[in-house]
């Protein structure tokens, strides 16, 4: 039969984190890597339960109880700092002469190699620790590369959205497109009319029937506006329930009035969303570019705004021309 010394040497080659304890739980031999974790305290001669605390199973607090755990997986920690978590396995020696307890790091290995400055020589040749560390680093590097690609793609997507001219909910043009179109018409000295349309009672649809109903109303309203205008007019959604329609080359107020009246009539019709009836109406204010000597976009939008507010003051669901306002400048 092999003596304790020989057994220790053999175990240290195979599993350098082993402990050989006697039947009273005194540590008789300790693996070189395990000893490296507590360089100032020789493990040999101390009591196993003084050095390690059993985390699971908690009920094991005595040596006989520990000896009865043969083959089961143990979770332990050092009593003192750093309280590295360890996994353990007990293999009793024949004849009740104690046991071999083999320990390993488990997932705590990442911190352990750093805390204890371990090297590849501290692990047995068959241990997968080095491969695990390699994988963690390699995967982190690959993940980092993927993450940086994702960030760049996200940035590109935001930039593309920024540059987009379409309102994604309604398919109409957005405020950006409207600004662009206004700038273009003004700089090319074209004549045009600008209609500012606001949906009345939209907020109550949203509050009462929810955002899905609100979105539905906006989409229906957008469809009606596209149907009631010509192909080269610009219909834009410029705010939650605000729309601007630009009529290129059209400045005759009687035609604009009839278009506005048709829009109001159609938008007044109840819309049905999932068996719920939504009621909105439209208030519209219109300004015409030829009323201004040298029009600018801000001035025209403001003029259409004033007409819109007049329409609201006059009881909603109606159309007002800027030129007819008492305050209107010639």
């Amino acid at each position: 039969m092999m003596n304790t010394q020989d057994l220790g040497g053999l175990l240290d080659t195979l599993c350098p984190m082993f402990l050989l304890v006697d039947e009273k739980g005194h540590i008789r031999q300790a693996g070189s890597t395990l000893q490296k974790l507590r360089p100032d305290v020789p493990l040999v001669g101390t009591d196993f339960l003084d050095v390690f605390e059993l985390i699971r199973p908690r009920t094991v607090t005595t040596i006989p109880a520990l000896m009865s755990m043969a083959g089961a997986k143990l979770h332990l920690k050092f009593h003192d700092e750093p309280r590295t978590a360890l996994k353990g396995l007990v293999a009793p020696l024949p004849g009740g002469e104690g046991a071999v307890i083999n320990l390993s790091f488990g997932i705590s290995i990442l911190d352990a190699v750093r805390d204890y400055a371990l090297t590849s020589a501290d692990f047995s040749g068959t241990d997968l620790a080095i491969e695990l560390l390699y994988l963690v680093e390699a995967k982190s590097a690959a993940m980092e590369a993927s993450r940086s690609l994702n960030l760049r793609l996200q940035g590109a997507m935001l930039a593309a959205e920024e540059q987009a001219y379409t309102d994604t909910l309604t398919g109409l043009k957005n405020r950006r497109a409207m600004d662009h179109m206004l700038g273009h018409l003004i700089s090319s000295n074209s004549s045009f009319a600008l209609m500012h349309l606001d949906l009345d009672f939209f907020k109550s649809v949203n509050d009462r029937l929810g955002h899905a109903a609100g979105d539905f109303v906006l989409q229906q309203a957008a469809r009606i506006m596209v149907e009631e205008t010509r192909g080269d007019d610009t219909v834009a959604r410029v705010g939650g329930d605000e729309f601007v329609i630009i009529f290129k080359g059209l400045t005759r107020e009687e035609i604009l009035t009839s278009v506005a009246d048709r829009l109001i009539l159609r938008l007044n019709e109840p819309m049905v969303f999932q068996q719920q009836t939504c009621y909105v109406s439209a208030s519209i204010g219109t300004a015409v570019s030829t009323q201004f000597g040298a029009p600018n976009a801000e001035e025209l939008l403001h003029a259409a705004d004033l007409a819109l507010y007049q329409a609201k003051r006059d009881g909603r669901s109606c159309h007002r021309l800027y030129s007819r306002l008492s305050k209107a400048q010639p």
Binding site: Y134, E137, L149
Partner: protein, 195 residues
């Protein structure tokens, strides 16, 4: 070809010859872009054009440039992460040489769609080795010459390398270990993290 390989060449050119050189190369190669994405794939043809134009721009043969890429991958501070991954291969230069047999598998573990040709080390004596490179990636063996040389410095080993080029039917690098502990070498701390 995998973006990581293209990206490595881009990184090498920018660090060694400057951004303006890289821009001239991408323009001459008619890429239509100037940045390779490490995690996307590209047509092989794109990489070939870049290497051709780089060779013309620098007036140096491709094999020489590829060898420098290999050295760059291991020794430049930009590439500390890669050096660390290679150092996981073993505690000594000879262990590292033996770990090259697993290199393509190790790479696939980290990046599943990056397929590198298999390498096979034959040990003629304790100081004489031959590294055989499978075909499939033009210039790979030249890059490996640079890697082997730089890793020798990293481990502090003195080696002699010879590579006859890729025209032969077998692509082989001879490694002669003159002294395994010739210089101090660079420190490798298992628990450190590359920045």
């Amino acid at each position: 070809m995998h973006g990581l390989i293209n990206r490595a060449i881009q990184s090498f050119v920018c660090a060694t010859y400057g951004q303006s050189c890289w821009l001239r190369v991408t323009e001459a190669a008619e890429l239509g872009f100037v940045e390779f994405e490490a995690m996307l794939g590209y047509d092989d043809d794109v990489s070939t054009r870049v290497m051709d134009m780089l060779s013309a721009e620098l007036g140096r043969p491709k094999a020489e440039i590829q060898e420098d890429v290999g050295t760059y991958l291991v020794s430049h501070p930009n590439m500390e992460g890669l050096r660390r991954l290679l150092r996981f291969g073993g505690g000594s230069y000879v262990e590292f040489l033996h770990s090259l047999d697993d290199l393509s598998d190790r790479v696939r573990l980290a990046v599943s769609d990056l397929a590198l040709p298999a390498l096979e080390l034959r040990e003629l004596s304790t100081t004489e080795f031959q590294l055989f490179c499978d075909p499939g990636l033009f210039g790979y063996s030249s890059v490996m010459v640079g890697v082997l040389r730089a890793m020798a410095d990293d481990y502090g080993a003195l080696v002699m390398l010879s590579h006859d080029g890729e025209d032969e039917t077998v692509d082989m690098i001879s490694v002669t270990l003159v002294e395994s502990a010739f210089a101090e070498g660079r420190h490798f701390d298992l628990g450190a993290r590359a920045e």
